[in-house]
Amino acid sequence: MTTMTDRKLTMQKAIAEGISQEMATDPSVFVMGEDVGVYGGIFGSTEGLLDKYGPERIIDTPISETGFIGAAVGAAINGMRPVVELMFVDFFGVCMDQIYNNMAKIHYFSGGNIKVPAVLMTAVGGGYSDAGQHSQTLWGMFAHLPGMKVVVPSSAYDAKGLMISAIRDDNPVVYMFHKGALGLGWMVNNPRATGPVPEEAYEVPIGKARVAREGSDVTIVTLGLSVHKALDAAETLEAQGISAEVIDLRSLVPLDREAVISSVQKTHRLLVVDEDYQSFGMSGEIITTAVQGAFDYLDAPPVRVTTPDIPIPYSHGLETWALPSVERIVSAAAGLVSG
């Protein structure tokens, strides 16, 4: 149970507070990654933690992702609960072996005898012209590979609660925060990045979606920053007389399929919004879930608004066109309802 609160935090501060509170109560929790110390994390995920917990527990690493992510696996096997930061998810290419061949598989290989309670925290997403090696989301790829939970908070409340759940989880959890949803002063001016956050530690269960907005005409399933865009779109749609329900998945693994199915059974129409690449990913999986679980309820073929199968382009106009936008969501939802 959490108390009601008027205190508002940005998602960035909520993440740091979640880690800090777990470190205060559990000496096995420590953080390592590039610039997590004096800098406080490039995106502020470890802000203030070095002063509180010192360099033995807030560990700046060299640029050596295979080394330190593999070390997090070793520490997790040996009684620790590391939170390890991969600065941008795009950097997975230099260390993916440790992530998907090692961290994700040891519990299975051991027949359940060895647990790997590690949190891999990483920044995702575009929208600020950082080009094709610093703007991807890639959650569909991580979710595709068995053995890792994958969580993607969209609100400050969920960011803290999901971080605490991730740290307490006995499994590897990939915790992806969208840069545009953090409420950073230097990033994207996003009023939805700030919200009420209780002072005390609390968990948000991993694997449970949230109805971010109730509606009756169309279901919009999404996660991360696209939740904010979908909520903005829902306001525009409401003015057009269309009632949109927005489902924030909050995690891809486990996936709350029931939440998708029951919403589609109510609205009879499905729009999936995914900032990840379109093909072979989350949007296809959500649509399959709806088709298999609510086929008779669907009044129209499901529709998706995604990033096309292209590297994320740099130039502002190109990128804005490529990523899901409020306008594309409104247009797709309106077409789905009127069609």
Binding site: S28, F30, E56, R57, T61, P62, S64, T66, G67, F68, I69, G70, A71, A72, V73, G74, A75, A76, I77, N78, G79, M80, P82, V94, D97, Q98, N101, N102, K105, I106, H107, Y108, F109, S110, G111, G112, N113, I114, K115, P146, G147, K149, D170, N171
Partner: protein, 328 residues
């Protein structure tokens, strides 16, 4: 030899146990795959990398181990696992894919994991090295005097993981010993064709840590060098890099035609079989007579046979158990 007799006997006995285990696995691996070799057939399907000849690199550290010390080994892991004392019955059962195996049949011979003793291995070259670094971080954070041993082949010394791991361990002065098992060939590629310098132990200087070359495939030499490196790590003085020249008596995997090594090379290698050489030396120095060595063989063979029997008598996991243990 200025080594307690019990340690010499222990190393010899363990070498016998390892060799017998590898011989029996080899026999049973081929028993039902011939005359037409089918890698997927038989009691032990899949790839099989056996370590006959590499026993010294494993047994030399054994008398210096403490309970709780972590070891990460390679795709060729049996000798190290046996030397650390991983449950032989469960290990055999895992290799035979049985429900009673270390991983309930989910890992196989390249993915053996044990909590006590603290052992893991991997089918990816160099993958265990960062894991050993993390184990050492955990030992320090928890205030124990445990250390981590990271085994890898000479072929792994050109992986990024090698350099990243040694840098981290040196930077943070962690209790790790990195042990390069140099059997001279990375599958078919000789070391000289892959590595810019003759000895990987020289690479230690790039990270400001001790690098020691053991140029004989000799358990006594390994015992002495590993003892010093392990003591150093346990004292808190940081990591070391040890390179041991050893021999892979058989192919890279069972079924390997091994045509890339010359007949002369193989003959010389077989003539310096470390088990034979060590046995002779123990006899000559009056530490173990031929009769005593026979008695050890009888006892170790029985231990291995009991493990094989345990494995063969164990049930296979239910097919749908495939779905279990993805998550805790």
């Amino acid at each position: 030899m200025d080594i307690p007799k019990e340690h010499l006997v222990d190393m010899y006995s363990t070498m016998v146990r390892i060799r017998r285990f590898e011989e029996r696995i080899r026999e049973l691996y081929f028993a039902d795959k011939l005359p037409a070799f089918d890698i997927a057939a038989g009691l032990i399907p899949g790839e099989m990398h056996l370590a006959a000849g590499q026993e010294p690199v494993a047994v030399g550290m054994r008398p210096h181990l403490h309970p709780g010390d972590a070891i990460t080994a390679t795709h060729r892991p049996h000798h190290v696992a046996i030397a650390q004392g991983v449950d032989l019955n469960k290990m055999a059962a895992e290799i035979f894919g049985r429900e009673t195996g270390l991983g309930r049949g989910k890992g196989g011979h390249m993915h053996l994991f044990s909590a006590e003793p603290n052992f893991g291995c991997s089918g990816i070259i160099g993958e265990g090295m960062p894991v050993a670094v993390g184990a050492a971080m955990a030992f320090r954070a928890r205030g124990t005097d445990n250390i981590a041993l990271s085994y890898f082949g000479e072929g792994a010394a050109n992986q990024g993981a090698f350099h990243e791991s040694i840098n981290l361990a040196a930077l943070w002065k962690l209790p790790v010993v990195f042990i390069c098992e140099d059997n001279a060939y990375a599958i078919s590629v000789p070391k000289a064709a892959s590595t810019a310098i003759p000895d990987n132990s020289d690479r230690a200087s790039a990270y400001g840590i001790p690098g020691v070359l053991v140029s004989e495939n000799d358990p006594v030499a390994v015992y002495e060098v590993m003892g010093a490196a392990m003591d150093r790590a346990r004292r808190g003085d940081g990591p070391s890099l040890i390179e041991i020249k050893t021999d892979r008596l058989w192919g890279h995997f069972e079924g390997d035609a091994d045509a890339y090594r010359s007949e002369d090379f193989k003959q010389e290698m077989n003539e310096r079989d470390p088990l034979v050489v060590f046995g002779k030396r123990l006899e000559e120095e009056g530490i173990l007579s031929a009769e005593e060595q026979e008695a050890i063989k009888e006892s170790e063979y029985a231990t291995v046979e009991a493990a094989i029997d345990f494995a063969l008598a164990s049930p296979y996991p239910a097919p749908e158990a495939s779905l279990d243990h993805v998550f805790a």
